[in-house]
Amino acid sequence: MSLKRQELIAGLTMTGPWVLGLLTLTLYPFAASLWWSFCEYDLLGQPRWVGGSNYARLARDISTGGQFWQALGNTAYYAVASVLLSVLVGVSLATLLSQTIRGRTLMRTLCFLPAVVPTVAAAVLWMWLLDPQAGLVNKALTTLELPAQNWFRGTSAAAWPTSWPTDAGGRVFGSKDGLVLMSVWGIGNLLVIYLAAIGDVPRALYEAAEIDGASPWRKFLHVTLPMLTPVIFFNVVMGLIQSVQAFTDVYLVSDGQGDPAGATMTVSLYLFLTAFKDLDMGYASAMAWLLFVIVAMATWWLFRTSRKWVHQ
């Protein structure tokens, strides 16, 4: 057997398991869900072709402000708020933690710690912290003579952002804001990336800025921030995709129902309930594909606009 043939066999043998996994666990479900999105399918019988009726149902839901439309709105709110806040908090924290101060390593460790807390434990912890009546966060707010907020809580209730202008009790934040806070709490992974990126900024740039008499704030604004933009861009794209897929924490805080009144019903949760509670696989697949298209378009838009704000 020739050496080339031996190498080919060795290569195929080693990549085989991965290729098999890709075909059966990724590409097949991918193609199957596209097929099912044009079918009526309940797991028990054979999928039955129904053409575009699942997509027509989605269009009807969106046009009548139905549950999918509400879930899309909730997902957009959560994705935008959590991504923006995680960038803001992540960059600020990383900048502070990159300074040469005493106890820096300890502080970095403390900031990273929440990232290793399991999602379920974190969700339960935050449900307690943000409980509107007994939670520590509201206790702290009332101690500071600030109005207690109606954070998320189980099956029952929490405020809606729509109640902002009219709520006499000064309750500004609602159920989705609790979820956003949770997501920002666990930004340890992003922090590591930002810290590494700050470490890679050439010293010469800071030295040049100092020679020009730049203040620390101007150095941050005109040196650190532009040099961080490729990493910010990466984190924004990844954060957007992850936040659209957010499921575990949403499922836990909403008791698996998207309560209260659908305020925490995200697309991924609605998709899960449609597929595995209503056994409406076809409709759920259509939702998944529509979500895929929306996320792909958002990512494409981010890439397109990145030329204007990402340092090349």
């Binding site: 309940d42 797991l43 729509t162 009144a261 509670k277």
Partner: protein, 467 residues
């Protein structure tokens, strides 16, 4: 002289031996046990009971297995969460349990999907006739779809109003016999206008519009409707009136105050029954299973209840009344659900499953069923079981249980409509009521109920026209 060394079998011979051994295992080793000896047939039974109920369930299984030789029930406690999904996956995989007990409104949906065996496949015509007369109307409705019985209920969940009599007496308030009484209790104990409340006289739960709609004289489905759309009647004016009454609480106290009050409830420690949580409510709707909480609190002195015999301890008295109707409303009405046995279509032992569900429900053995219901504080599905000495003793021991039992036999107790979209329907109505009660400036009760009804009508049309 040459020596003969012991020879090991040739590799080919070893291979043949292994093949022969494997084949013999396949041929003889996997024969059904029942063919080799007169073993009882096994009935795999999935249930979701835990806590205090688990030992009672296990005892029922032990008693059934000891009562006959033909079947042996093996009970498997499944986590209740997503039990329906696990069941469906087992059906899709071709290996379902022989019997399942469930408490969600899924029977019509599953029957429509042709997953369940109608009871007529296992029961004799005489048994079916007897069952029809034997069951409470609500229990019969729970298991029916399209004119056939697909499930046998073994216990009903009935809701009524729990009242803290002591609290009411302190405010010179009567027990709620009318809707106006309830409103007065609410406004006296928690006058509107505050930003935060620690206790409420009464606060309707939006999830319970299913009960209040019926009490106001509404219906949620019309089984006699000639066309699919007309079957869904969530926007019945009486249901709208019920939701308007519920929304009145939200308007008086403010949606965010209402939602904030309710949202804090799960954080209350010490009890799962809110009537016992530092007098949180003077009146609230809940099911008969809360009597166990009251009894436990009586024993421990928790929740403002006295330890029996210790007279210095403050003592709250509790009672239970049916949901009070408005003028022109319906007495002894409400929303009922319960636990039901179902047999999947490819059950390996449907007859054993039928025998076991009869045993538990009490069709042929009312005394045994009465004892189980008494032990668990459950509501039986038939008068015949209620009338047994064991259950009569339970009613004497816990007089408040009488209210629930009387309600169970009422024709005005209705389950979620037995339609293939029942779970979706339940969710849509619940969401509509939540929208009205928890959100500022949302549409009127009439509009949200009409919207919910329209969505369910569309879904029902899609489901029924798929065939």
């Amino acid at each position: 002289m040459s020596t003969v060394e012991p020879r090991s079998p040739k590799p080919e011979a070893r291979g043949r031996l292994a093949l022969l051994f494997t084949l013999s295992l396949l041929l003889f080793g996997c024969q059904p046990v029942s063919e080799t000896a007169s073993q009882p047939e096994e009935v795999i039974f999935w249930h979701f009971w835990g806590g205090e109920d688990r030992p009672i369930v296990e005892q029922i299984v032990v008693d059934f297995n000891a009562s006959q030789q033909q079947y042996r029930v093996r009970a498997i406690a499944m986590p209740g969460n997503n039990l329906d999904l696990k069941f469906f996956l087992s059906v899709a995989g071709g290996d379902p349990p022989d019997l399942l007990n469930h408490d969600e409104p899924v029977i019509a949906d599953w029957a429509h999907r042709d997953v369940l065996l109608p009871l007529g496949e296992m029961a004799t015509p005489e048994e079916l006739d007897r069952l029809n007369d034997w069951l409470f109307p609500a229990a019969k409705q729970l298991g029916s779809y399209d004119g056939k019985l697909y499930a046998l209920a073994n216990g009903l969940d009935i809701r009524a109003l729990y009242c803290n009599q002591t609290m009411l007496e302190e405010h010179s308030l009567p027990l709620p016999r009318t809707i106006a009484d309830l409103d007065r209790i609410a406004e006296t104990i928690a006058p509107p206008g505050q930003q935060e409340y620690q206790r409420m006289g009464f606060l309707p739960n939006p999830d319970r519009l299913w009960a209040w709609g019926v009490v106001f004289g509404g219906t949620f489905w019309n089984p006699a409707a000639s066309e699919t759309r007309s079957m869904i009647t969530a926007d019945d004016p009486k249901n709208v009136a019920a939701l308007e009454w519920m929304a009145g609480y939200s308007q008086r106290y403010g949606p965010s105050v209402v939602s904030s009050f309710r949202s804090g409830e799960q954080a209350l420690t010490g009890t799962s029954f809110l009537m016992l949580a530092d007098r949180r409510y003077a009146v609230m709707m809940d099911g008969q299973w809360r009597l166990r909480d009251l009894a436990a609190a009586r024993d421990t002195g928790a929740g403002g209840l006295a330890v029996q015999g210790e007279e210095d301890t403050p003592q709250d008295k509790f009672t239970v009344v049916p949901l009070p109707p408005p003028p022109g409303g319906v007495k002894n009405a409400g929303w009922v659900n319960g636990n039901s046995f179902i047999v999947p279509k490819n059950s390996k032992c449907p007859q054993g499953a039928w025998e076991f569900m009869k045993f538990w429900s009490g069709l042929d053995n009312e005394a045994r069923a009465a004892q189980a219901c008494a032990d668990g504080g459950w509501i039986p599905v038939s008068h015949e079981v209620v009338n047994q000495p064991a259950y009569q003793q339970a009613l004497r021991d816990e007089p408040l249980l009488n209210v629930f039992v009387e309600l169970a036999s009422s024709e005005n107790q209705h389950p979620t409509p037995p339609l293939p979209v029942a779970a979706y329907y339940l969710q849509q109505v619940k969401r509509a009521a939540q929208n009205v009660m928890f959100r500022e400036g949302t549409a009127t009760p009439e509009a949200v109920l009409h919207g919910a009804a329209e969505r369910v009508r569309l879904r029902l049309e899609e489901v029924l026209h798929e065939e």
